[in-house]
């Protein structure tokens, strides 16, 4: 086992029921510890299925996943304690206040009392939401909801954080706060696995990337090195070169 890897994926394969072609087709990769790993690909490439298998939400048809030195098949409960997930949807309760939402999430991770309250207020302050802690989420703007959604994923200070399109549909200011804080978390040792369609953001944020298409990893490495190897100017050009310009469903 490579002690420098946060996640090791070996020969991962997923074929859904009633499906002819696999969603993920025998992929293998390693995510270095304390990296920001971008899993990039067009719609329907297999990103969500891969992330779902890494979080333990769905079982692989074949292959092996190790998260933080733990085998996902046997240690899922322990893995759940060290990972955080920030889904693309605002998976929170609109009629609860920001504080009530975060308190519920914290309790679900076993956090409670003054420690939890302090953590909630600390995070709300970092993301500029301390003054709206007692306001209902339904009154928040899209950017504010995204920031709360992110706090809900990091409140319990996970070692590994999964982010699915964390900045989609938010204004520049909110996006800036989010990416800045992600850098901060990464500097403190958190491994971040990130999916996005925003190539510029991925290029600036990620230390490592893998491009996936039709369930297979077609390229993997440091963004700058890959751009150079493929004689392209940026990640977007590289992405189009590797995945083609054909429209996807």
């Amino acid at each position: 086992m490579n002690l420098q890897s946060a996640i090791i994926v070996s020969n991962l394969y997923k074929l859904y029921k009633k499906s002819v072609s696999p969603a993920v087709d025998h992929i293998s990769f390693e995510i270095p510890k304390s990296s920001i790993f971008g899993l990039l690909g067009p719609n329907g490439a297999g990103k969500t299925t891969t992330i779902s298998m890494l979080c333990g939400l769905i079982k692989p048809s074949e292959g092996k996943i190790t998260v933080g030195d733990l085998d996902i098949e046997h240690d899922l409960e322990n893995i759940k304690r060290i990972i955080g997930v920030v889904p693309q949807d605002i998976a929170l309760y609109p009629t609860l206040t920001a504080y009530e939402n975060l308190k519920y999430i914290g309790n679900m991770y076993g956090l409670k009392g003054a420690d939890l309250t302090a953590k909630i207020h600390e995070n709300l302050k970092i993301f500029g939401l301390d003054n709206v802690a007692d306001k209902r989420l339904e009154t928040f703007s899209g950017g504010m909801k995204r920031r709360i959604n992110l706090i809900a994923g990091i409140l319990h200070q996970p070692q590994i954080l999964f982010l699915d399109e964390p900045t989609v549909g938010v204004d520049v200011q909110s996006r800036n706060v989010i990416t800045e804080h992600l850098h901060q978390l990464n500097e403190n040792g958190m491994t971040i696995i990130y999916t996005s369609h925003l190539m510029e953001e991925a290029e600036n944020l990620c230390t490592d990337i893998a491009i996936i298409d039709a369930g297979k990893i077609i390229s993997q490495g440091k963004p700058k090195e890959l751009i150079k190897q493929n004689n392209t100017e940026n990640l977007e050009q590289l992405f189009l070169k590797l995945t083609g310009k054909k429209l996807r469903d």
């Binding site: 079982k59 949807d89 309760y93 009629t95 609860l96 519920y104 679900m108 076993g110």
Partner: protein
């Protein structure tokens, strides 16, 4: 435990802030109880105190006609109209359904009965040599009372009415016989034997089977509608419960919860406990409506009996059945619209079958058989038994068990449905 308590708290907060949901859960059953109890008050009274309309044509001027009339009045089951009309018109009125029964007493009823009794008594006394048979009485005609029924009268009803009439006539006949025997025996010595009013040697004494000294309860509008619409309100929580499950699935909360440590079952139990708590509050408030609000509107006060433990058990089991059904609907249907439509329609159908709208005993036999499959029927029957019959906990255990098994079955189907979708 922290996850469980936190989920209960979260669900209660969500429920309390859902104004529309609260209106459906509390105001709707409260309004239904009040409106239906008022609307059904008169029909329930009519049904309970129904009298059979009877047209009596008493052509007799003597005692027999009068005594038959008194006997019919004393039975308290007839609404008697006295008329002096010809036989043909009696037939027309009964045939047209104006009266359920028509009775025509002939003008020679007293004379005829007297003659027959005299003939019988004289014949018996002459057989033993105590009297001579008077020659003028040998041809006394038989007393014939005409009785008419509407064409659609059920044979069993006809038989019971005829039996009741025969009993009355028989009593009059016996009294006449006794009087005449006395008279014959006293011919030579008028002071020897006194004629007496005929005694009843066998009487029926109706015993109140309730422990309380109150008058035996009848299923009136309040006794029916309060538990009925309380149960309906409890089951309407299916829509909120299913909606909550679908919403969590749609907005990703369900997946977020599944990435957290611990079993999803804990979260589901927390949700069920929160909704169960709401159903218990619902039931409590609806009983208060029956106890305090409806009497203010001129309706009878709800009688809940004395078995509080039984009421708690059946309320909890009804709440569990409703929340379990909510989980099932929320699991199977993909959208909130589908779930709310199916949830509402299914609860209305189960309510109709279960006797919520109208009592099961007025339904056709086929529907009565189907009723026994409705969880709302199990709950309503148990409430009626507790309120009207004052039964113990044992008597409602079978209904409680059925409701609990319905809850378990709903959760099991949901579990296996989810498994099959993975």
């Amino acid at each position: 435990m922290l996850r469980l308590l936190s989920t209960i708290q979260k669900e209660l907060l969500l429920l309390m802030r859902d104004k529309g949901g609260l209106a459906i859960m509390f105001l709707m059953p409260m309004a239904m109880i009040t409106i239906m109890a008022i609307i059904q008050d008169a029909p329930f009274r009519d049904y309970q105190e129904l009298k059979i309309p009877l047209l009596l044509v008493n052509n007799d001027t003597g005692n027999v006609g009068k005594q038959i009339e008194v006997g019919l009045n004393e039975s308290s089951i007839f609404e008697i109209t006295n008329k002096k009309i010809v036989d043909e018109n009696v037939k027309k009125a009964v045939k047209a359904g104006e009266y359920e029964i028509g009775i025509i007493i002939p003008d020679d009823a007293t004379l005829s009965l007297n003659g027959n009794v005299q003939q019988f008594v004289s014949s018996k006394l002459s057989e033993v040599g105590l009297s001579e048979m008077p020659k003028e009485l040998t041809n006394a005609s038989e007393l014939k009372i005409q009785i008419l029924f509407t064409p659609d009268t059920k044979p069993s009803f006809k038989a019971s009415i005829l039996s009741s009439l025969k009993q009355s006539i028989s009593k009059i006949e016996t009294q006449f016989l006794l009087d005449f025997f006395t008279k014959e025996l006293n011919k030579d010595n008028p002071e020897a034997v006194q004629s007496e009013k005929l005694k009843e040697f066998v009487t029926f004494n109706e015993i109140n089977t309730l422990d309380t000294p109150q008058e035996a309860l009848k299923l009136n509008s309040v006794q029916h509608n309060v538990p009925a619409w309380t149960i309906f309100g409890i089951f309407f929580i299916v829509i909120s419960m299913a909606g909550s499950i679908i919403k969590e699935r749609d907005d990703g909360s369900f997946l977020r919860i599944k990435t957290m440590p611990g079993s999803y079952l804990t979260v589901l139990i927390g949700k069920i406990i929160a909704y169960l708590f709401i159903t218990i509050i619902q039931a409590f408030l609806m009983l208060l409506v029956g106890l305090y609000l409806l009497p203010l509107l001129g309706l009878p006060t709800l009688v809940i009996g004395s078995n509080i433990l039984g009421i708690v058990i059946i309320t909890v089991c009804t709440g569990l059945a409703a929340t379990g059904f909510g989980v099932l609907v929320g699991t199977i249907f993909k959208t909130h619209q589908q779930a709310s439509t199916f949830g509402a329609v299914s609860v209305v159908i189960l309510a109709a079958l279960g006797g919520i709208w109208v009592p099961v005993y007025v339904m056709p036999e086929l529907v009565r058989t189907l009723s026994e499959l409705s969880p709302l029927y199990w709950a309503l029957t148990a409430f009626h038994k507790l309120f009207l019959n004052e039964v113990g906990v044992i008597a409602i255990l079978s209904y409680s068990l059925k409701l609990f098994l319905f809850f378990v079955a709903s959760l099991s189907i949901s579990f296996f449905y989810n498994k099959s979708k993975e």
